[in-house]
């Protein structure tokens, strides 16, 4: 009887997974389809699969430029996240006056969705003179509250005797953080990298607001622009979608565990 319930559950799960995967398949299929993509009934398997659409993407839009912009912004965001979050997380392991207030402040900031700040955030960036620049694109993403707490938890798990030993040896706090604590908190670093990378890689609304030139636009913007330009008429759009989704999928599959740990620790621990 137990066996039968297992088979039933496998069937249900297989169905659910199929529903989750069909959209990917449909787009991938369209991207390699040669014939008219509007033909009815659509073919389930492409007749003569080919990669022309992917080549088209290179000619129709400055894909390399969008890609480079996305990579640069993400690199800035990831670097900022590691340094700033580690520093803040380390500070939170210490006792100091007003610590409760700082923690409370961080936690309440988490409830403010970025989308609810766009108007003043734009004005702030304008005053700082970082509109339409890489720094401006990355600035709001440079620190993540969830990741600060991930670092704090990781540092607290490191035996205090190590810090004391380092201090007796005359290491300064900055060195203790970078030479002793960070190397021992590799899982926390991985979580930081993956979370901040995915968030900056996918960011759309913020770049939409603060970039003016095509030369500064990131991949999501390029995608939206291309969509507005060609509508749904060409398979190249779906080739573009595949080219954008693939890096995300690969990064996620490589670091799934760290990603999920970051999300759940953020969600369950504040």
């Amino acid at each position: 009887m137990r066996r039968r319930s297992h088979i039933l559950r496998h069937l249900v799960m297989a169905l659910v997974c199929a529903l989750m995967l069909i959209p990917f398949y449909w787009v991938a299929k369209t991207a390699v389809t040669n014939e008219n993509i509007y033909a009815y009934p659509p073919r389930i398997l492409p007749l003569k699969p080919h990669l022309y659409n992917f080549v088209d993407v290179w000619y129709l839009i400055p894909f390399a430029r969008y890609f480079a912009n996305s990579v640069i912004v993400s690199l800035i965001a990831v670097a900022g996240n590691i340094v700033f979050n580690a520093a803040a997380g380390y500070a939170l392991t210490k006792n100091f006056a007003g610590k409760r207030i700082v923690v409370l402040l961080f936690l309440s900031c988490m409830l403010i969705p970025f989308q609810a700040t766009i108007i003043p955030a734009y004005l702030v960036s304008a005053r700082l003179g970082v509109l339409n620049s890489y720094l401006g694109l990355a600035l709001p993403l440079l620190s993540t509250i969830v990741c600060i707490f991930v670092f704090k938890a990781a540092f607290e798990a490191i035996p205090a005797s190590l810090q004391q030993a380092a201090r007796i040896d005359g290491l300064g706090e900055l060195r203790i953080l970078f030479r002793i604590m960070l190397p021992l908190a590799k899982p926390a670093i991985a979580t930081n990298i993956i979370l901040s990378f995915i968030w900056s890689w996918n960011a759309f609304l913020w770049p939409l607001i603060i970039t003016r030139d095509v030369t500064m636009q990131t991949l999501p913007l390029g995608l939206a622009r291309f969509l507005a330009y060609v509508e749904d008429t060409t398979g190249a759009l779906y080739a573009f979608v595949c080219m954008v989704l693939l890096p995300g999928i690969i990064v996620f599959l490589m670091a799934q565990k760290e990603f999920i740990r970051g999300l759940t620790s953020g969600a369950t621990k504040g």
Binding site: H6, H10, V12, M13, L19, M20, P23, F24, W26, T30, Y38, A39, Y40, P42, V83, A87, Y90, A91, N95, F96, L105, L107, C109, L111, I112, P113, F114, Q115, A116, T117, I118, I119, P120, A121, Y122, V124, L139, P140, S143, I145, I148, W201, N202, F204, L205, I209, L219, P220, L223, A224, D232, V241, V244, I249, F252, I260, T264, A267, T268, G270
Partner: protein, 324 residues
């Protein structure tokens, strides 16, 4: 240990207090100021970012909402004019508010789906990890790309959904899902559920795994049927996770901007307009920053009220984030 007041931390927790007693107080004071400086320096970058891009905007929104202001024009006090316009004259606002509420009210459906999946995946099922990965895969992907994927699925001619519905004989004529006033919002919501359901599942799985097994064993010994075990143990123990899911569902009405922007642009005839897209259009389409700020204040208030209600609904203090 962390809760000890900082004044006493130096004296009480010192095993190395062998220094001369007269100098000790002095030494500790200096050490304390040095540590305070250090903590401040370490916290400063993060605090600056959150101040500039979270806290300051929150206040600035409120101020802007009571002003007539646009770039290049001096601010004038507007009183409640922006709000009066919103509530009395702006039909799009009411449409967007309704749509946002529908969007939020649809999230329990996704949460229930996720709960069912989480329960199935949580057990001793072989291959559960693979199922989990596949279901979660859509969450970390770029919403703009996901929006285009779903646009294509809903397409009248080349779309998978119309293809299946027509192929199975459920409909005779293709439905232009995203172009029809009635279908557009449910269609966008379905795409959103597809993307976010894996996240709910992960949260609920973490919750399920934190339930002590001995509760179930005790219940089994007492002869409680599976339904009772679920209702009396699983559900109550899952309340914190369910609350988090509810909050994510509420926040989702903000983050769905990308999907709506790409799939329908708020149309047709504002059928899929959300508050967040209306804010964007007002602010950056029509450069009415003051009015957009007022809209933001209303949406943020809505968010706080709904979060509070969700907290009450799961029995209070479920989101006791303080214990972090």
């Amino acid at each position: 240990m962390n809760t000890a007041p900082p004044q006493r931390a130096g004296v009480a927790g010192s095993a190395d207090a062998v220094a001369p007693p007269v100098r000790a107080a002095d030494w500790y004071r200096r050490k304390r100021t040095r540590e305070a400086m250090l903590v401040a320096c370490f916290l400063l970058p993060s605090l600056m970012i959150f101040f500039l891009y979270r806290i300051l905007p929150l206040g600035w929104n409120v101020i802007l909402s009571f002003e007539y202001w646009s770039p290049l024009k001096a601010a004038r006090f507007a009183g409640l004019d922006n709000y009066a316009e919103m509530f009395l004259e702006d039909d799009v606002f009411w449409q967007a508010l309704t749509n946002t509420l529908i969007f939020i009210l649809a999230s329990p459906i996704a949460i229930l789906l996720a709960l069912a999946v989480a329960l199935a995946v949580n057990s001793d099922l072989k291959g559960a990890a693979i199922y989990r990965t596949i279901i979660f895969l859509s969450y970390p992907l770029m919403s703009v790309a996901v929006g285009i994927v779903w646009r294509w699925l809903y397409d009248e001619r080349g779309g998978f959904i119309n293809f299946v519905l027509r192929g199975t004989g459920l409909i005779k004529e293709p439905i232009p899902f995203l172009q029809s006033f009635g279908w557009a919002l449910p269609s966008v919501i379905l795409a959103d559920i597809w993307q976010v359901v894996g996240f709910y599942m992960i949260i609920l799985l973490t919750g399920l795994q934190s339930i002590p097994q001995h509760l179930y064993e005790a219940a089994r010994i007492d002869g409680a049927p599976a339904s009772a075990r679920f209702l009396r143990i699983t559900l109550p123990m899952l309340r914190p996770s369910l609350f988090i899911c509810a909050v994510i569902g509420i926040l989702n009405s903000f983050t769905a901007f990308d999907l709506v922007y790409v799939m329908t642009g708020g149309g047709p005839a504002h059928a899929t307009e959300l508050l967040v897209t209306h804010i964007y259009n007002m602010g950056f389409g029509e450069t009415r920053f003051d009015y957009a700020a007022a809209l933001t204040v209303v949406q943020f208030t809505l968010l706080v009220i709904l979060t509070f209600l969700a907290n009450r609904a799961v029995g209070g203090n479920a989101g006791s984030v303080e214990s972090a």
